[in-house]
């Protein structure tokens, strides 16, 4: 029994309001329906059907008092009809000698808020299932949970719309044919699967963050989508420290957005950023989320450790006043948890600030042979900086030139060329930055 719409007829522009309702509700509706039909592709279609019904009825009869519940009820009815038709079909098959398969789902479950939370979590874990490629996980998560259109995803990732559409179709089919259960994993599988979920959100954020200096404003919008997903997940899984760790990290990173680019769009490095432009409220949210991670964890995971490093920056009044010794320690812990040459390079920068360029150069020189960093412009860039501070001007210039050749971002390349140029004109200089 669908709720009767009661309110006054919708005014002109009701379509925008209906779309807003749908955007708010779509992930929950898809999740609630997927629990019944056990197929996210079909669930999305049924949710769309409910939206079409709303678009027909609401402008005529008025928007219901509780539009979210109306949409959920409409979609669930369609799902239940579908399952009943399947059951009748299965019964007919049984009559001719085949067995009924699995027990039918509980069709008459009330849609209480805890169920909705569980359904959403199942949707998150299904969309990020390891059976899918990384690109598919990202596309499906943004589509089903972020509510982005195929066109928006395509523009954000600079790929043709047809590619994204195909990726999503194929992902849904893979989930169906591989019989991926619509469930939240428990036990030892849970940590690995949660890792995949967090990585997807972080990849989406970075796709936007790395492109902030670019021209396309849609890519930075990905940061907001990822942040929103992280916030949603943190509320759905309050007992998981790394979820809060990721949310905290993204809040801190996002807090610096306004300060990361100069007036003409050029990137501004952390040391030169105007800290007055950092968003205090996002910093406060980052601190709160880190506190929740800390309270839930016995040992901080990689995202929480990165968040703790970001917190050190957020708390410092200037680059120089930063607690570099603590950052170096945190990078040490991070390197022990998840070793990577990039983490080691960052640790070198912290060590250079805490102890001077000499000990840092030793760390960087150990990284010189790392194949993973061979084309990474930040390695020669950091090395150039250390050599410059040690007064080895000619070597520093060569490193900045190398870094400029490797940099992919035009703005960054300009910055590095300028630094190389500085070391051409002035002789040896000990002037640290």
């Amino acid at each position: 029994m669908e709720q009767q719409p009661t309110a006054a007829p919708a005014p002109d522009g009701a379509t925008g309001a209906i779309e807003a309702v749908f955007r708010i509700e779509s992930a929950r509706i898809i999740a609630g329906v997927a629990r019944i039909v056990r197929d996210v592709g079909i669930a999305e279609e049924l949710a769309q059907d409910a939206l079409v019904a709303a678009l027909e009825q609401w402008p005529r009869d008025g928007v219901p008092d509780n539009p979210g519940a109306w949409l959920m009820t409409a979609a669930r009815h369609r799902a239940i009809d579908l399952v009943r038709r399947r059951e009748r079909y299965a019964r007919k098959l049984a009559e001719v000698g085949r067995d009924l398969e699995a027990a039918p789902p509980h069709l008459d479950d009330p849609a209480d808020p805890d169920d909705i939370d569980d359904d959403l979590l199942r949707l998150v874990f299904t969309a990020c299932h390891p059976v899918l490629s990384a690109e598919s996980r990202i596309a499906l998560t943004l589509r089903l949970l972020g509510g982005l259109t195929t066109a928006e995803i395509a523009r954000a990732f600079l790929v043709p719309e047809a590619t994204v559409a195909q990726r999503i179709v194929r992902a849904k089919r893979t989930l169906a044919t591989k019989g991926v259960a619509f469930e939240v994993p428990y036990g030892p599988e849970r940590e690995a699967r949660l890792g995949s979920v967090l990585d997807v959100i972080y990849l989406v954020f970075n796709e936007g963050y790395a492109a902030t200096a670019g021209d396309d404003l849609l890519r930075p919008a990905l940061c907001e989508d990822a942040l929103r997903l992280a916030r949603v997940l943190a509320e759905l899984m309050p007992e998981e420290p790394e979820v809060h760790g990721l949310a905290s990290l993204l809040e801190f990173q996002a807090s610096r957005t306004a300060a990361r680019t100069g007036p003409s769009g050029e990137p501004v490095l952390l040391g030169e950023q105007n800290r007055a432009r950092w968003n205090r409220m996002l910093i406060a949210r980052g601190v709160t989320a880190l506190g929740r991670a800390d309270a839930a964890a016995t040992v901080l995971g990689p995202y929480a450790l990165q968040a703790a490093i970001a917190a050190c920056h957020a708390h410092a009044h200037t680059y120089e006043e930063t607690d570099w010794a603590r950052i170096a320690t945190l990078y040490g812990l991070l390197a022990a948890r998840s070793p990577s040459p990039v983490v080691e390079l960052n640790r070198a920068v912290a060590v250079s600030m805490a102890e001077g360029p000499g000990p840092a150069l030793e760390i960087v020189d150990r990284l010189a042979a790392e194949p993973a960093l061979r084309d990474y412009h930040l390695l020669p860039s950091v090395r150039g900086d250390l050599l410059s501070r040690l007064g080895r001007t000619a070597e520093a210039r060569a490193e900045f030139e190398r870094a400029a050749r490797l940099a992919r971002n035009a703005r960054e390349r300009e910055l590095l060329r300028a630094r190389a140029e500085e070391h051409r004109a002035t002789g040896p200089s000990g002037g640290g930055r």
Binding site: A17, I24, L227, A230, A258, M281
Partner: protein
């Protein structure tokens, strides 16, 4: 994603002297939890009555300080919600749900304004 400030204006003459009903507080709590779980709510709070507020103003170079209540104005700010939404339509939908949890005797207006960014 833009941020929106929903300024909650209430008619203090319609607000019950003993404060919001327990039922309203419960519905409000549930709604705020829902908005937070949607990743939308950044910050929200209600304000104490305007009788406990003070206005500091400067007109024609002269500063004046006036204690509440501000009887000359029909509606006063009763609270706020800071939300991050896809667009104005989404922010307005959440504001609709917010005014909807109040009993009919409340005179309540949410003024939804986008925050100027950059």
């Amino acid at each position: 994603m833009p941020r929106y400030l929903s300024l909650v204006r209430i008619d203090e003459t319609t607000a019950p002297a003993e404060g919001p009903s327990p039922e309203l507080m419960q519905r409000m709590g549930e709604l705020i939890e829902e908005i937070t779980k949607a990743g939308v709510m950044l910050d929200t709070a209600g304000l104490t009555p305007s009788a406990q507020g003070t206005r500091v103003s400067r007109q024609g170079g002269k500063i004046s300080v006036t204690d509440g209540p501000f009887t000359e104005s029909k509606e006063v700010i009763g609270g706020y919600a800071l939300m991050q939404c896809k667009d104005m339509a989404e922010a307005v939908e959440w504001a609709k749900r917010f005014v909807n949890v109040h009993e009919d005797y409340w005179g309540i207006t949410c003024e939804v304004r986008q925050i100027a960014e950059g």
